[in-house]
């Protein structure tokens, strides 16, 4: 059976003048996944999201959102999509509750008879029940962010597109939002999570696409991507020569030596305990022995470069 894709783009490109903000990307977001859309600031993530939601027109390429063509059948798809795009935005002179009522009234496919009830349960879900009557200009950034999430949850959705959802939240709020995302995902909602925070993606996502300078430079299961980087054995000992010899005898070569530390690439399934026993039997004094698992960060930095400089 062909795996269903919640979002599928091919050759998606957005030009601003001569510059390609998004350069021929082909996203494949499986239904039911928590899909991390990772990339440094300015790499084209938000522009991509704008095209997915029909806010901006693609210069080239095709988009399928929940099986419908964008922008042709945009209005068929949008009611099933909840979104938080480039930060929350509300009327500061109206209360949080009235803001939600307003946006829901704008949605021509929403049911007016359940409106009040849906707004209340959305406020409940993000913990804003007690602040619903406050005017938005009195909200903190974190409260606005929650209200933005409440807006995305006004109706039962098939996919949530969340652009930097934990921006501006305190650690507690960040945790709550992450838990919320997990519980929404458990309900079967596909989550498309854009973030520049690697730890966030690593914590929440099953899949990831890495954007850099308008291009997707890696995409797939987060595990696969991580495993592309080698696992390393770290061994600290005073008997470097004997240790290297023992390692060789066990099929572990290419040792890099720095002071009293030996580093070599190994099979991730290596049994460290039995290797340690062998070393001890050879009278090698082991000060430290451990496996360093590959991290996504390593892969990410390798892909996007260390530079602090804005790419363009």
């Amino acid at each position: 059976m062909v795996k269903q894709l919640a979002i599928e783009t091919s050759g998606l490109t957005k030009r601003f003048g001569d510059q390609k903000a998004v350069n021929s990307i082909s996203l494949e977001v499986p239904s039911g996944s928590v899909f991390g859309f990772l990339g440094p600031n300015g790499s084209g993530k938000t522009t991509t999201i704008r095209m997915l939601l029909g806010l901006a027109e693609a210069s080239e390429g095709e988009i399928k959102l929940l099986g419908t063509e964008i922008p042709k059948d945009l209005e068929k798809a949008l009611p099933r999509v909840g979104a938080l795009v480039e930060g929350p935005a509300f009327y500061p002179f109206m209360s949080g509750r009235n803001n939600l009522l307003r946006i829901d009234a704008a949605d021509r496919f929403s049911d007016a008879s359940t409106r009040i009830q849906r707004v209340e349960s959305a406020l409940d879900r993000v913990g804003l029940h007690n602040a619903g009557n406050k005017k938005v200009h009195a909200y903190s950034l974190g409260m606005k962010q929650r209200l933005g999430l409440a807006n995305a949850l006004l109706k039962p959705r098939d996919i949530l597109v969340l652009d930097e959802p934990t921006n501006g939240l305190d650690p507690q709020g960040t945790r709550e939002v992450r838990n919320l995302i997990r519980s929404l995902s458990a309900e079967g909602i596909t989550i498309f999570l854009s973030s520049h925070l690697l730890s966030e993606i690593e914590m929440l996502c099953s899949h990831v696409a890495v954007m850099s300078a308008g291009k997707i430079i890696a995409q797939g299961l987060i595990e696969d991507l991580r495993n592309e980087e080698p696992t390393r054995l770290i061994l600290r000992t005073d008997d470097i020569d004997a240790a290297v010899e023992t390692l060789k005898a066990n099929g572990i070569g290419k040792a890099k030596i720095l002071g009293d530390q030996i580093t070599c690439e190994v099979d991730p399934a290596l049994d460290v305990a039995s290797l340690n026993a062998k070393l001890v039997r050879k009278k090698v004094s082991v000060n430290e022995i451990r496996l360093q698992r590959s991290s996504l960060e390593e892969k990410y930095v390798k892909l996007t470069g260390e530079g602090f400089e804005v790419v363009r």
Partner: protein, 276 residues
């Protein structure tokens, strides 16, 4: 279901947003202040103007308070009413874009054409509220400060107080029609930018330019095309029988402006990338 198709709920929500803003009420209060200032100034001054001196109708105000609204309308039309219209019409799309709420309305999904139409209709409601505020405030303060009685019209006929209220409503409606073309211009300008103040200023400038062009005799050939051309002709409604000619011409002219700038706004807004 019916209400949904027609977008009545969206329209009501649009009005709710407009009338939740303090700005809207401040502008209506300022509009109400015009006839009040006028009437108080006239009541306090001991000099009596000779007929024909000062703005039209001013002499009549002291004899009949019901004229206050008409005189105030003449004073408010060149600048103050257009100012409030430019604030509301310039804000329609640019204001939402500036706040960022435009993107959330569009992905709700509101439908771009539907939003444009609702925004325009809501700005007409504001104009209606403004013109009626001015007439009602005028009649009220006039009744407090001056004698009130049957109104002698420009053509010498006298109509009852009751009928005079009808004429006031007609003048308010006439002015609403007069400003509807300008509101369409403002709507179009509002689709061009994400800075509402810029759109408001530009809209006000168009009415200023239109007024200036209308005062240059060498450009007479274009005068009847300017959206300001019939603005002051509401006086024709104060004759007996009413001269409907300027009303009809005005309606046709304003519909033309609405058609052209509505189409431009549509063309611009439906193809625009929303990057705010």
């Amino acid at each position: 279901m019916f209400a949904k198709t027609l977008g009545i709920r969206l329209f009501l929500s649009e009005l709710k947003v407009m009338f939740t803003r303090r700005r809207t009420w401040a502008m209506l209060a300022a509009i109400a202040l015009i006839p009040i200032l006028l009437a108080v100034a006239v009541a306090l001054s001991s000099e009596r103007l000779a007929p024909g001196e000062g703005p039209p109708f001013l002499a009549q105000v002291t004899q009949n308070g019901l004229f206050t609204g008409f005189t105030a309308m003449l004073l408010a039309l060149p600048l103050f009413l257009p100012l409030t219209v430019s604030v509301v019409a310039g804000d329609t799309i640019a204001g939402e874009a500036g706040l960022g709420t435009l993107r959330y309305l569009l992905i709700s999904p509101v439908g771009r054409v539907r939003l444009l139409v609702m925004k325009y209709l809501a700005s007409l409601v504001f104009i209606l509220a403004g013109t009626f505020t001015l007439m009602i405030a005028g009649a009220t303060i006039g009744a407090i400060l001056f004698p009130v009685g049957p109104v002698t019209l420009l053509s010498g006929f006298t109509i009852s107080i009751f009928e005079a209220f009808g004429r006031m409503a007609l003048v308010a409606l006439y002015t609403t029609v007069s400003l509807s073309g300008m509101a369409a211009v403002g709507l179009f300008i509002s689709t061009l930018t994400t800075v509402p103040v810029g759109a408001m200023t530009a809209t006000l400038v168009t009415s200023g330019v239109s007024n200036i062009l209308g005062n240059i005799p060498q450009l007479e050939w274009m005068h009847s095309w300017l959206f300001t051309y019939y603005w002051l002709d509401f006086a024709d409604l104060l004759r007996a029988p009413i001269e409907w000619g300027s009303m009809l011409n005005n309606i046709v002219l304003q519909l033309g402006w609405i058609a052209v700038f509505g189409a431009l706004a549509y063309g611009r807004f439906t193809t625009k990338d929303i990057l705010s």
